[in-house]
Symmetry: C2
Subunit: 166 residues, 2 copies
């Protein structure tokens, strides 16, 4: 008798916890993360305004990654990028990070056009570091998975902050 | 012998999968979600630009929630809001949703100031619906957990789209 009561209770608890939360008709979804797979352990800014504020207030350079979920070049770079512990560690400790799947209204973030993947550095003085670029002359801010060493070199460049006017 | 080899293999696999990913000095973090707890099953836009684009292209009204993680009023509203299945369902099916912890540069989103929590509706015609407000005259777009019925009524108002000029 006790067993039956317990079973009924268990069923009730299960049903109520299932009923408790909204589930879409198409089935339960995995919550989207701010990292979008570019480094689940990093603390990502959500918007460019937020990222600029963090960059200024913490005096750290900002890395902005433009990418698209359905772009194979973005996906390949993301895989290599998120697997590279040296890059992840330096980003975590010395950078503000932002990844965007949508262009901002700020044209300074697309010095040579709006393509993906594209990585732009911004100095805490709010200056876009157009001088820090990759190896492709037609898409200056694009990187491929094989370019991670160059990206690391560029991150070190970005860490040398521009002198701010005081 | 085979067992020992298997064990060694298992240990190696375990060690390499642990070594495989960057872990911050302060310990492993839970990845941030775009929902920030306002509805894990909803598909959230990341930025205002993205949200406006979705709203226009899908002809759905946009709900923008301004909140702060360390604001108890925001937290209380979030709890009630995310537990309300009727609201979650209507948002999922009929709205574009965006939650922000940082103000945008668009002043139309703060018709009577920048406070949290604050819920602003935007029509697909890109018109901020300043006419859809809550019950507090000093903070017209604030809601408390007890105001969810009013919020639902306001969502229905927002679903009646403004006539766009064609």
């Amino acid at each position: 008798m006790i067993k039956v009561t317990l079973l009924v209770l268990l069923v009730l608890v299960t049903v109520s916890s299932t009923l408790g939360k909204y589930i879409p008709k198409t089935g339960k979804r995995i919550p989207q993360t701010l990292s979008r797979g570019w480094g689940d352990q990093l603390i990502w800014a959500q918007t460019y305004e937020e990222a600029l504020y963090w960059s200024r207030s913490r005096n750290k350079p900002l890395m902005v990654i433009f990418h698209l979920e359905d772009c194979p070049h973005s996906q390949a770079l993301k895989k290599a990028f998120s697997d590279d512990n040296e890059i992840q560690k330096m980003l975590d400790e010395d950078f503000i990070v932002l990844n965007l799947v949508y262009e901002t209204t700020d044209k300074h973030l697309s010095p040579d056009g709006q393509y993906v993947p594209r990585i732009i550095f911004v100095d805490p003085s709010m200056t876009v570091r157009a001088d820090i670029n990759g190896r492709y002359s037609n898409r200056m801010y694009a990187y491929e998975p094989s370019d991670l060493k160059l990206l690391m070199t560029n991150m070190k460049k970005a860490k040398k902050l521009l002198k701010s006017e005081l």
